[in-house]
Symmetry: C2
Subunit: 374 residues, 2 copies
């Protein structure tokens, strides 16, 4: 069901999302719907501006039939990427293409009121700059750096987000912005962004974020797999075999306690992921060795994921993925050592392509899929 | 697309699969299709016998409208469960309900020609006994005890099936039996059987078979997750942390090498899964201790699967699951020790309910979902 006041128009709209102009007869053929139904739906989509006339097809005798195409500029999507220490807000069109953005430092520990006020403020400023009205917003997608209960959009005991636990993010933002608000954790958002933008035809993909923490987004059968409580992909607390380091979760030997940027920073006297990346790029042997070993630990856990899910692509993202080949080499080494040949024959293990915009694009896709019901 | 010669009737048929009789007006309402389309589809379904008249609804003035219902007896499904040492073949109706069956000892090492000839022979005997003709078969579902390439239905380097590698099972059976033939590995088949029959409303479920080997079937978003090569669920070769036993795959410390019935049988001087189950039931301490430790090893691997997939149900099946509480207790102990609280709050870890018919029911559902396009 589409959210764009065109509930019944869904099937016809979906047929036009590929950007191809189509005639009424082609839409009747493709949808299997009755002529009167298709005509009514095209009218509704034309009224909503989601579809526009697009010239005429070749005549087969008589008046040439009109063509219609999807109009991605009809409405806007607000994409929000809330990081631990930054806030990015972007306006996109209905295909998720970024039109304008604003990124500023922001400490998430300021709490939900301050951060979400800033989101609304930035949204209004972007709309003004684009000479568009709030009514042009079709919906908002938000990524948060912690677990989110998918059904409600509320953070669920997020470790680095004081004051956010169970906060009604959706309720707060719908008071400020028109249209539905969708919330998910940043790793799912990045997985969605990378999958939709770079691997739209891949059914089974794992996106792994290696940064201060470690998490994964699971694409199964072309869709984000969130699991029963929306906690799927939480690979940072899988046991790294043979390791016993105490993790902040209270367990011992968690992957995050031995292979995250936070764990490496402590070991290398670096303060941030970027500090580690700089050390590796400067040829520091201790840093290169540590990053490669972290890759092996991550790869051992991913080998289990390969046996369980048999993905065709594993994408490594997050700030530590910028350390270059050492991390990837360690990950590949462990995956190939521990997986059955059948599952790795055509497996690609690669670094993320979508770069710093991955989270914003993913947040836009989250809202897009909901408002266009795709 | 339905395979039953009623390609366009799919949407209308799906609305009737719940067994509820419905009027033409109700079907128009529910499907959003035009009256002429629904009328045409009902005619096609009546002609195919898939839908039958089912009395009349209360009149709202004028002639009371006719009701239609799904007719599961219209056609038959052949369900085939090929084990290492047995062959079971059953006839089911279109809901997967078993009507008649035949089980005999059969060594899979006899090779595909002998085994599949026996399948065709048993199918014809069951049809004769039921006074039905081969033309009544809508399709066949087959479970094999080894990896199967999903797109082709060919076994892929199956370790215990000499002569079957890359054999064209589908081609051979379609020469003998009418209708489409679907093939999958036995664990996926059992997962499908347990999910469809016992947990139809659960979106995310793991079925774990603990027998001579160890494998899993992954249900994600209500559908079987097969992965890129159909190798998903191959958890028997995930590393059991800290273990170094040589596995038949050539790696060390695989779960299957330390916790399968084959591994326990070697350790306990029992010859079969049933031998181990008998020892446990007789109160043999060494057997109980070994089974419980096997449960812990399996649970440690499943804890990683819980973190990755956040399922709401884990079903333990296979011959060793009959050893009772010791196996389940060990599995639960390790899962709860190693998983984050959010993912285990509502997690059920239970033994399989569907019993010895799980594989036959699953094979029937595999064919049913294909021929009814559900």
């Amino acid at each position: 069901m589409s959210e764009l006041g065109t509930a019944e128009a869904g099937a016809v709209l979906r047929l036009l999302l590929d950007g191809q102009p189509r005639t009424r007869a082609e839409l009747i053929d493709l949808s299997g719907l009755a002529r009167s139904t298709v005509t009514g739906r095209i009218e509704a989509l034309l009224t909503a501006g989601l579809v526009v006339p697009s010239g005429e097809a070749a005549s087969t005798g008589g008046r040439p039939p009109a063509r219609f195409r999807f109009n991605p500029a009809a409405r806007l999507i607000l994409a929000v990427d809330v990081g631990a220490t930054h806030l990015s807000v972007a306006l996109t069109d209905l295909t998720g293409e970024i039109l304008d953005r604003s990124t500023t430092p922001m400490n998430i520990a300021e709490g939900p009121e301050v951060v979400l006020d800033a989101v609304a403020h930035k949204a209004r400023a972007l709309l003004r700059a684009a000479h568009r009205s709030p009514g042009d917003l079709a919906g908002t997608g938000v990524g948060l750096p912690g677990p989110v209960e998918h059904s409600t959009g509320r953070p669920n005991h997020p470790p680095i987000m004081p004051g956010w636990d169970a906060y009604d993010v959706v309720g707060r933002l719908t008071c400020e912005l028109p249209g539905p608000v969708l919330v998910d954790n940043d790793v799912n958002i990045m997985a969605l962004g990378e999958h939709t933008a770079e691997y739209p035809d891949v059914d089974d993909l794992l996106f792994v974020k290696v940064a201060t923490g470690i998490g994964a987004g699971v694409i199964s059968g072309g869709h984000l797999h969130r699991g029963a409580q929306g906690a799927a992909g939480d690979i940072g607390h899988i046991q790294a075999p043979g390791r016993t380091e105490l993790c902040r979760c209270g367990n011992h030997g968690c992957l995050e306690a031995v292979a995250s940027a936070a764990a490496l920073a402590a070991q290398l006297n670096a303060s941030t992921s970027q500090g580690i990346v700089d050390l590796v790029r400067a040829g520091n042997t201790a840093a290169t060795t540590a990053v490669r070993q972290a890759g092996r630990e991550i790869g051992t856990v991913l080998a289990a994921a390969v046996s369980l899910l048999n993905p065709s692509v594993i994408v490594i993202g997050g700030s530590l993925s910028r350390a270059g080949d050492s991390l990837l080499a360690g990950i590949r080494e462990a995956i190939y050592a521990r997986s059955l040949p059948l599952a790795t024959t055509d497996l690609q293990v690669v670094t993320a392509r979508s770069g710093p915009d991955a989270a914003l694009r993913g947040a836009a896709f989250l809202a897009q899929q909901h408002v266009l019901a795709i």
